[in-house]
Amino acid sequence: MAITTEELAGGITQVILEGRLDIENSPAVDTRMKAIAGDRNSVLVDLRKVSFLGSMGLRALVAPALAIQGRGGKLVLFGPNEMVTKVLKVSGIETMIPIHHEFQSALAALR
């Protein structure tokens, strides 16, 4: 799985994930997300290129979100496909991490 970051205006960090967030790839994502969550307070996790999300992948998203929110920061999820969105909803993740399908609304939620 590829993980890249871009710094956007307004102090927002865009984390772009590409590939399968499965049990094999989740540890690397978890490590990278923890590092990002350690010193960023506005994070947009771009899921447009994530083709699969399993329960281990959910952990890699929830843990950094809790860390950032605990400091008063914000993390949002952007652009999950239909099935990834279903996983997020069934697991209840959307009750704590906002999901946006429009880029501008995701940015607005972080400002």
């Binding site: 049990i23 094999e24 952990r59 929830v62 099935m83 993740i93």
Partner: protein, 146 residues
Amino acid sequence: MTGRETNQAEEKLILQSRLSEIAQLPVWIESLSRRHAIPENVEFAINLCLEEAVSNVIRHGYGAGAGGSVIVSFNRTEQGLFVFLIEDQARCFNPLEAPAPDHSRTIRVGGQGIPLLRHFTDKLEYEWTPTGNRLKLFFSSACPEL
């Protein structure tokens, strides 16, 4: 011995009880999907549920113990359901008895696996036998709506 065994009525994948073995699942499922015309969304659901169920067997059923195996078999019913049977010799664990999630409480890290199994399958059947656990997962050709 691990690997694929095929015959006309059933296809089978045999995994050793190591988490690294789970990487074989998506490749096997993709092959099944091509040959049996499994819709893309259903293939996703199958990947999701088998990864969860098999990882639970390896982590919680076998635990630190080595040398066990997990056998995943595929078949189709006369009604066209895609059926996966997971068999292992680990300690007794019935995922159907896991409590339903309480989303009114703060989401914690972990614990979402069993609810995903329940939602993304049409039916789950569990049986404990003298030789171990048998978990059967049924998938219809249409993915469940939320």
